[in-house]
């Protein structure tokens, strides 16, 4: 444990050094303010001594005082107080600026990482945890900048005090020299004991947040299954662990706080005891003993700032480690500098693609679960290809690979002959658009959800909405295009969200349009209209569509049939019907079912007809 806490001190120092390097000006100002505060606090002790000696005692002795004397005394003390207060304002304001600027800077960096890191990384990290990294952990890291400048000011104050003491009486100063190291030692032991407990509590705090986040996202399922009690128990369990951890922190703090608080008082008593003895020996004057005792009582409180810093240190270190884990996460996608050619349609070719998801094993390890195996697929420019396959056969994964949402484990994807990995950042999105199965809406207006910030006229937005068959419902929204869709589009129905997502793709006039079961939540007649409009509007773009419905498949020039992550067959509908039993079973399932039912119905009617009276 000793090694751990030693390293907490060191690592905490590193965090502080980093913060100081990034906000040197504000930090320097805060320390300056704190120094002013330290000196002025020390001067105040001196000023009262001076006033007593030069004004109060003579006045009492002479039974008279001049207004000039009073004004001088008032001016000196008020001056010191004013400068002191200005120092405090400077210290705290500048510390606040440094702290919040650091917080904001690191929130930006962490979220940049979220935007840069590949989806593969996202899949491995709970979103509750990522939110906590960007919020609570960043805050915990830099909170130390609130008490830190004060602690540094106290160092100045102590030096000032130590010099005063040594000048007055080295023996009494020696008593002080015992007390302050004792105070440091007590603080160090305190911090050593606190560190693991605070770390644990911090981790639990994140866990509480994760459970709450997941549970609230699952609110509808919890409600429809009537599992509110179960969820409340799950939350109570982790909350109670946090409670116990916090109480353990409190017990440690409760043990050390009174001890640390009483050390300076004991020091004062020691000074008085020793001072009285030395004064009775005639080695110091009574006034000098009083001066040092006063100094102790002035210093007792500010010295605790060290305790605050040391208490914040473990939180800061833990927070930083969690933040740093995100910042250090590697595997960011690398981009080339090539531009894709601009034309009406793009050809896409996947060669020997392999892709496996990383799955967690119950023993804590991970294993690879192959989702795409050795797939080679060509979609010629301007053609429409339907990607068909059973549930879980890897269709969505393949669309993700073709648009470089993820990189294949092996193999390559070529768009118009260019390896996707050599294309500049944003280059693929310029020519290709994906409408995913699961739509994502930003908390923004309908217009911005369609344009995503690109410059399009309202006419173009309406045109895209028309093609996506969304025009009618958007017209009925309270503010039309300016209607806010709510968080994740909560104010829209699933089918409405899908159509807005479709308009989002269409408005970009992509050379390659990938539809991943993008119309699953709209009814067949609307889907028909969408497909019809798309065909008219696509302007010769290449279309890759994940589909189950015959009408969609019928639009395709070619069909690629995927099963178990492998491309089983590739060709025209007739060709696949003939060669591929899995495909035939899939696409004709509804028709066969209808036929079966019709046959059963005919049988039943025949039987009924036999027994019933003729009408």
């Amino acid at each position: 444990m000793a090694a751990v806490s030693g390293s907490v001190l060191r690592r905490g120092g590193a965090v502080v050094a980093r913060g100081v390097r990034e906000q040197p000006r504000w930090f320097a100002l805060a320390v300056f303010g704190s120094t002013v505060y330290g000196i002025m606090t020390g001067l105040m002790a001196w000023a009262i001594g001076w006033a007593t000696r030069e004004v109060l005692t003579p006045a009492a002795a002479a039974r008279a005082v001049t207004p000039g004397q009073l004004w001088t005394m008032a001016a000196v003390i008020t001056g010191i107080v004013t400068v002191n207060v200005l120092g405090i304002i400077l210290r705290r304001t500048a510390a606040g600026f440094a702290m919040y600027a650091l917080g904001a800077a690191y929130r930006r960096r962490v979220t940049r990482q979220y935007l840069d890191l590949p989806l593969r990384w996202h899949h491995k990290h709970p979103s509750g945890q990522l939110l906590s990294n960007a919020n609570a952990d960043v805050e915990a890291t830099w909170n130390i900048f609130a008490p830190l400048p004060m602690a540094l000011g106290v160092v100045v104050m102590l030096l000032f005090g130590a010099v005063q003491m040594v000048i007055v009486d080295p023996v009494l100063a020696a008593v002080g020299m015992v007390v302050f190291p004792l105070l440091f030692a007590a603080n160090a032991v305190f911090q050593r004991r606190m560190s693991p407990r605070v770390t644990y509590a911090q981790r639990l705090r994140a866990e509480v947040s994760e459970v709450a986040h997941e549970s609230f996202e699952a609110a509808l399922v919890v409600k429809t299954m009537g599992r509110e009690d179960l969820e409340a128990r799950r939350f109570a369990e982790v909350t109670n662990r946090l409670r116990d951890a916090n109480i353990a922190v409190g017990r440690t703090r409760g043990t050390f706080d009174p001890a640390i608080e009483s050390i300076p008082t004991i020091g004062t008593l020691a000074v008085i005891g020793v001072g009285a003895w030395r004064a009775s020996q005639g080695q110091v004057s009574a006034a000098e003993v009083v001066q040092i005792a006063y100094l102790f009582s002035v210093l007792a409180f500010p010295v605790r700032a060290f305790g605050w810093v040391l208490a914040e240190l473990p939180r800061s270190v833990v927070g930083w480690e969690r933040v740093d884990a995100v910042l250090q996460a590697s595997g960011a996608m690398h981009y080339g500098d090539r531009d894709l050619p601009t034309r009406t349609s793009a050809a896409i070719h996947g060669e020997h693609l392999d892709y496996a998801y990383e799955i967690d094993l119950p023993d804590g390890g991970t294993a690879a679960a192959p989702a795409i195996r050795d797939v080679t697929l060509t979609v010629t420019a301007g053609s429409t290809v339907a990607l068909v396959g059973p549930t879980g056969s890897g269709k969505s994964t393949l669309t993700g690979l073709l648009l470089r949402l993820v990189d294949p484990d092996s193999g390559a994807v070529l768009l118009d002959g260019l390896d996707l990995r050599s294309v500049r950042k944003g280059g693929i999105a310029d020519v290709a658009a994906l409408v995913p199965q699961q739509t994502f809406m930003f908390e923004d207006t309908v217009r911005d959800n369609v344009t995503l910030g690109a410059r399009h006229t309202d006419e173009q937005v309406w045109e895209a909405l028309r093609i996506a068959q969304a025009e009618r419902f958007v017209l009925h929204l309270p503010r039309g295009l300016d209607t806010m869709v709510g968080e994740r589009g909560a104010n829209l129905s699933g089918g409405q969200r899908q159509r807005v997502a479709l308009a989002r793709a269409v408005i970009r006039r992509p050379q390659l349009l990938v539809l991943d079961d993008a119309t699953s939540a709209v009814d067949p007649s609307v889907e028909q209209r969408i497909l019809g409009a798309l065909r008219g509007a696509a302007g010769g773009a290449t279309v890759l569509v994940v589909a189950y419905r015959m009408a969609t498949i019928a639009l395709a020039d070619e069909i690629a049939y995927l099963e178990g992550g492998r491309l089983v067959e590739h060709g025209t509908h007739e060709h696949l019907l003939e060669r591929c039993p899995g495909y035939a079973a899939l696409v004709s399932a509804y028709a066969r079912e209808a036929a079966d039912r019709a046959a059963v119905a005919v049988d039943e009617e025949a039987t009924a007809g036999d027994s019933d009276e003729p009408v």
């Binding site: 009073l70 409670r243 916090n246 008085i272 009285a276 009574a286 294993a367 950042k425 994502f440 995503l452």
Partner: protein, 602 residues
């Protein structure tokens, strides 16, 4: 269709701003009784440690005044005695403040844990529409960071406030014994401060409320980068998302710095007044000393007492600032707890329905989303026990609204929904949820393995029962094809599975729950046709003898149902068996024609 502007409506979540600070604390203590349990003992101990805190320095001052600066010169033995007394005082103070700390931590953490759990539970009790008026991230912050802001205050602040007040009183008493005039001077200096502090507090409190709001908005923006990761990459809008986050982060920073500056001003006002008071006391004291009304020793002792007075006053100012922050957080949590669950469980008073075949009736049911137009108009619908109903209609026709009313996710604006002749509003939730289960289009999966996710439908089910369910549904083959079978972890929100697979889990989960009425709302929309047909057949035979209602775009379901209900523009326009409706030449015939055309090969 128009679920907009519900914020002004009764269903939105109150921020609790109307409660005053004191009312908030009282209400908070009511919610978390642990906070005040044993408080009397804690206060007593607190008073004891306060006595020590004031008396020890006082004894020190007396020692200095009489023992060292005494007329007869330093008296070492007398000082030793006083020092001994003071040491005993230090020990008592330390022990009692240890006890106070421990009691306070235990009480506050227990109280806050209760608050978290109750608020969490209440959020789940809120109606679906109320929940959707607030961002999920913001709901999370109500049970996490908002509660954290309270903890600092209830751990130290509350008692420190009591202790500080005690110290102020004690110091005032001592000051009066020295010089009533100077005591009056001290109070005269501080009275303007008290008024100033009240103003500052309002200012600081409002600033902290704005900070909390900014935190919520910032979390919302950050969560888009996390949850919308795929869309952001597909559209190459990293820059734009980053800009949105930056704006939210910067807005938060600015608001936080603003609140900090206000708090600093409020705090240093106390510091400044304390310093000025010292100057005034010194001046007035010197005048009194010059008139011979006070001795030098008395003036110095008084200066010392001023310190004992100003320290707690400053501490109290600081705590009051912290209290504003805590109260802002507390208000937000209480705001949630005091938001009525408008679709409420009748609880004990409610009707417990016996298990068995269920019949459903809609009586003149109308529904409008808050602030919106009617989406269902006077719907009358009888569903006989053991029947299998398909509800079809165009997107936005009101089908899903029917399902939500039937499962009491929402209550009708007019009319009644009855099960077995009982108004849904009178049925206990425990009974209703056991009998009626809805499978939505996007059934949420937890970050756990497949087994636990399916078991969510019936927590007491054994592994074998879960496996049996899957076998009965014909999904055993699919499960065996997964890398670790039932032990396969589904990832965040089930993202390791495809959308279709997630739907399979949701259906298995609902089937395991064994309801009398199963409502499937587009529950197989992402499943491949061949599997869907098999699943439908399995469900048909398994739910024979029960009632099922299926909402689907794929009309294969309608073909198989006993009866088809056609919804159009909020009205039931047709009803009857598939074969009759197909030939009737109405809305359904048109829908089906379009569907059949899609199925025609080539």
């Amino acid at each position: 269709m128009s679920r907009f502007e519900p914020l002004a409506d009764h269903s939105s979540i109150g921020a609790g701003v109307e409660l005053s600070a004191w009312q908030t604390i009282r209400r908070g203590a009511q919610i978390s009784p642990e906070l005040i349990r044993g408080l009397a003992g804690t206060v007593m101990l607190g008073v004891l440690s306060t006595l020590g805190r004031v008396l020890v320095p006082f004894v020190i001052q007396r020692t200095v005044d009489e023992g060292i600066l005494g007329a007869a010169g330093p008296d070492a033995s007398r000082v030793a005695l006083w020092v001994g007394v003071a040491l005993a005082g230090v020990v008592v103070t330390a022990l009692s403040s240890y006890a106070v700390n421990l009691r306070l931590f235990t009480a506050s953490e227990s109280g806050l844990a209760t608050l978290r759990v109750q608020a969490f539970r209440h959020i789940h009790d809120l109606s679906m529409l109320t929940q959707s008026t607030e961002r999920r991230g913001s709901l999370v912050s109500r049970v996490t960071s908002d509660v954290d802001t309270i903890s600092m205050f209830v751990q130290f602040g509350g008692l420190m406030l009591v202790v500080s007040s005690g110290q102020i009183l004690l110091a005032t008493g001592l000051m009066l014994t020295y010089s009533p005039l100077l005591a009056g001077v001290v109070w005269a200096c501080f009275i303007p401060l008290f008024f100033l502090i009240r103003r500052f507090q309002g200012m600081v409190g409002r600033a902290f409320t704005r900070v909390r709001e900014r935190v919520g908005a910032m979390l919302g923006a950050i969560s888009e980068a996390v949850v919308g990761a795929a869309t952001i990459r597909a559209y190459g809008i990293e820059e734009r998302t980053a800009a949105r986050i930056d704006a939210a982060v910067e807005a938060h920073r600015r608001e936080a710095v603003g609140a900090q500056i206000r708090a600093v001003v409020a705090f240093t006002a106390g510091q400044f007044v304390s310093g000025l008071t010292t100057a005034v006391v010194l001046v007035v004291g010197t005048i009194l000393a010059a008139r011979g009304e006070l001795t030098v020793g008395a003036v110095l002792a008084f200066l010392f007492l001023v310190n004992l007075f100003t320290m707690p006053v400053q501490q109290a100012t600081e705590i009051l600032n912290e209290m504003q922050n805590a109260v802002a957080g507390w208000r937000r949590v209480i705001g949630i707890m005091d938001t009525p669950a408008d679709v409420a469980d009748p609880g004990e008073r409610g009707v417990e329905l016996p298990r068995g075949p269920i019949d459903v009736a809609f009586e003149k049911v109308s529904y409008a989303y808050p602030g919106g137009e009617l989406v269902l108009h006077d719907v009358d619908l009888q569903i006989a026990p053991r029947s299998r109903i398909a509800v079809v209609g165009e997107t936005g026709s009101g089908k899903s609204t029917l399902a939500k009313l039937l499962t009491r996710l929402m209550d009708p604006t007019h009319g009644r929904v009855l099960v077995d002749g009982v108004d849904l509003r009178e049925v206990r939730f425990s009974s209703l949820r056991a009998r009626v289960v809805l499978v939505p289009q996007e059934g949420f999966l937890f970050d756990a393995n497949l087994l636990d996710n399916i078991r969510f439908g019936r927590p007491e089910a054994s592994d074998d029962e879960v496996m049996l369910t899957l076998t009965e549904l014909g999904l055993d083959e699919w499960v065996q094809g997964l890398p670790l079978g039932l032990a396969t972890s589904v990832g965040q929100r089930g993202e390791s599975l495809s959308a279709g697979e997630r739907q399979l889990v949701a259906i298995a989960r609902a089937y395991l729950a064994d309801p009398d009425l199963l409502v499937l709302d587009e529950a197989t929309s992402a499943v491949d046709p061949s599997l869907e047909v098999r699943l439908q057949r399995a469900l048909d035979s398994l739910t024979r003898g029960r009632t099922s209602i299926t909402i689907a775009h794929r009309l294969s379901t309608a073909e198989a149902a006993d009866e088809v209900v056609v919804v159009d523009a909020g009205l039931i326009v047709e009803r009857g068996p598939h074969r009759e409706l197909v030939t009737a030449g109405g809305v359904y015939a048109a829908l089906h024609e379009s569907w059949a055309a899609q199925q025609a090969t080539g």
